[in-house]
C-alpha cells in the first residue's frame, strides 16, 4: 500500500468531480452569453514517489495524513485560459461556489516569481462523499488549482524543460532569455486584454 493508503482510490474520482464542476461553471457562463471561461483543463494525481519525496523534503512523517492533509496538492487541476480577465473571472466564480472553499491563494500574476513564472494558485477545500483522513473533517479533501493564460502555460512548459535538463550550455544566458521572454509574453497578454476591452468598450 502506498503513501495515500486506502484513500488513494478516491483521488482520481475527486479530481474528475471537481473538473466536472468547473465545466458546469463554464457551461453556465456560455448559457448567459458570456465567453468561455477557459480553453482547457488538465488534471493529475501526484505520483506516489513524488509525494514521498515531498514529505521527506518537508520533514513530515510518511503517512496518508501528511500526503493528503499537510501537503495539499495530491490532486492538481490546471485551468488554462485565453485571456488574463478569464483567469480572474474563474477565480471569482470559485470564490462564490458553494461546493468549495478557498483556503489559500498565491498571485504570481501580479507578482511573478524572479525567474518570470506567472500563474494564480489556489488551494480548494472540497466536501466529498468519500471517507477522509481527518475524522473531524468528514469527506474533506484538498485540491490545488493553477490558473494561467495559454502564454503563461507555454512559458512554464519551456521552463520545465530547462529545469529538468541538467548541464545546459550557457545556462545563465538561457535563464536571462527565459525571463525576458516571460516579460514579452506578459506584454502580449496585457495587449490582448486591452484590445479586448477596447472592442467591448461600448457594450
Amino acid at each position: 500500500m502506498g503513501i495515500y493508503g486506502e484513500y488513494g482510490s478516491y483521488l482520481s474520482r475527486i479530481k474528475d468531480d471537481v473538473m466536472n464542476k468547473l465545466s458546469v461553471l463554464n457551461q453556465r457562463e456560455l448559457d448567459n452569453n458570456q465567453t468561455k471561461l477557459y480553453e482547457h483543463l488538465i488534471g493529475r494525481i501526484k505520483a506516489e514517489d513524488s509525494m514521498v519525496e515531498k514529505c521527506s523534503r518537508k520533514g513530515y512523517e510518511l503517512s496518508s495524513r501528511s500526503a493528503l492533509y499537510e501537503c495539499k496538492d495530491a490532486i492538481g487541476i490546471r485551468v488554462v485560459c485565453n485571456f488574463i480577465d478569464d483567469v480572474y473571472r474563474s477565480i471569482e466564480l470559485l470564490r462564490a461556489a458553494d461546493w468549495c472553499e478557498i483556503v489559500k491563494e498565491k498571485d504570481y500574476i501580479t507578482r511573478s516569481k524572479p525567474n518570470g513564472y506567472r500563474s494564480y494558485h489556489l488551494i480548494l477545500k472540497v466536501a466529498t462523499p468519500y471517507p477522509s483522513v481527518d475524522l473531524n473533517d468528514a469527506g474533506c479533501y484538498f485540491v490545488e488549482v493553477q490558473l494561467r493564460t495559454i502564454a503563461m502555460d507555454s512559458w512554464a512548459s519551456l521552463e520545465h524543460e530547462m529545469k529538468y535538463k541538467h548541464n545546459i550550455r550557457n545556462s545563465k544566458q538561457i535563464v536571462k532569455e527565459l525571463k525576458r521572454c516571460a516579460d514579452q509574453l506578459a506584454s502580449c497578454d496585457v495587449q490582448m486584454q486591452t484590445i479586448r476591452q477596447l472592442i467591448h468598450e461600448n457594450d
Binding site: I102, K106, R111, A186
Partner: protein
C-alpha cells in the same frame, strides 16, 4: 568619453589634451582640418572640438565634410571673440555649440561634464519615478513585477517620466513618439495610452496616466498606502 581635438596651436593643444586626460577623457589631437577629417572617418568619438582658423583646411570645412559623410557626433567649434559670422556659419554648417577664444579651461571641462550627463542620464538609460523603473535600452518596465514595452510605449513613458505631473497635450506625445506624425490620429495614441495604463497596472505600480481620450495626459504618483502581498492566507 573619446574626444577628437583639432587645434593648430601646439602649445594650446598640449594644455587641453593634458587637462582632459587628467579628467579621464581619452583625447586624439589633430593639428589641421584635413587631419581631423581623416581621424573622424576612422575613429569613433563621442565629441569633437575644432578650432576654426587652421592651416591646410579650416575647421568649418572639416565640419562640413564630416557632416556630409553622415557623421552625427556632437561638435564644438572654437571661434575668435569678434567673429560673429564664424559662429553663425559654424552652427549653420552643423556644429552643435561653440566657445569663443580665449576661453577658460574650467568652462570647457564643465561643458564636457554637462554633455556626459545628457548622454548618460537623460537619454537611453534607466529612469525612475514613484515605484516604477523604466529601462529604455531593454524596453522594460519594472515595479513589483516586470513587463516588456514596445518601442513607442518606451518613448512615450520616457517623455511622461521626464515631464511627470505635467499635463501633456496629445500633439506633443504624437510628435515625440511617431516619426511620421501626419497620418496619425487620436485613436492610435489612445490605444497606446491604454496599453501603458494596463501595463502599469499589471506590474502593480502606484503610478497612473490620467486624462480622458483626446488628452491632455498626465503621469502621476498615486502612492496609495501599503502594497498588496502576493500571498494571502485566509
Amino acid at each position: 568619453m573619446r574626444i577628437l581635438l583639432a587645434e593648430d596651436e601646439k602649445e594650446l593643444s598640449r594644455v587641453l589634451v593634458t587637462a582632459m586626460h587628467s579628467k579621464g577623457y581619452s583625447v586624439d589631437p589633430a593639428y589641421n582640418g584635413l587631419e581631423a577629417v581623416e581621424k573622424a572617418s576612422q575613429g569613433v568619438y563621442d565629441l569633437m572640438i575644432f578650432d576654426v582658423m587652421m592651416p591646410v583646411m579650416t575647421g568649418i570645412e572639416a565640419l562640413k565634410k564630416i557632416r556630409a559623410a553622415g557623421d552625427q557626433t556632437y561638435i564644438i567649434m572654437l571661434t575668435a571673440m569678434s567673429e560673429i559670422d564664424d559662429r553663425v556659419t559654424g552652427l549653420d554648417a552643423g556644429a552643435d555649440d561653440y566657445m569663443t577664444k580665449p576661453f577658460s579651461l574650467k568652462e570647457l571641462l564643465a561643458r564636457l561634464r554637462s554633455l556626459e550627463r545628457r548622454s548618460e542620464n537623460y537619454t537611453n538609460d534607466v529612469l525612475k519615478f514613484g515605484d516604477i523603473v523604466l529601462d529604455s535600452s531593454e524596453q522594460r518596465l519594472e515595479s513589483f513585477n516586470s513587463i516588456s514595452l514596445s518601442a513607442k510605449e518606451t518613448k512615450l513613458l520616457n517623455l511622461f517620466i521626464l515631464n511627470a505631473d505635467k499635463k501633456i497635450d496629445s500633439d506633443v506625445l504624437i510628435a515625440h513618439a511617431w516619426e511620421n506624425a501626419d497620418d496619425l490620429d487620436q485613436d492610435t495614441l489612445w490605444i497606446y495610452i491604454s496599453y501603458l495604463r494596463q501595463k502599469l497596472q499589471s506590474v502593480n505600480a502606484h503610478v497612473e496616466i490620467q486624462g480622458e481620450k483626446g488628452g491632455p495626459y498626465q503621469l502621476v504618483n498615486t502612492n496609495g498606502g501599503n502594497s498588496n502581498d502576493s500571498e494571502v492566507s485566509l
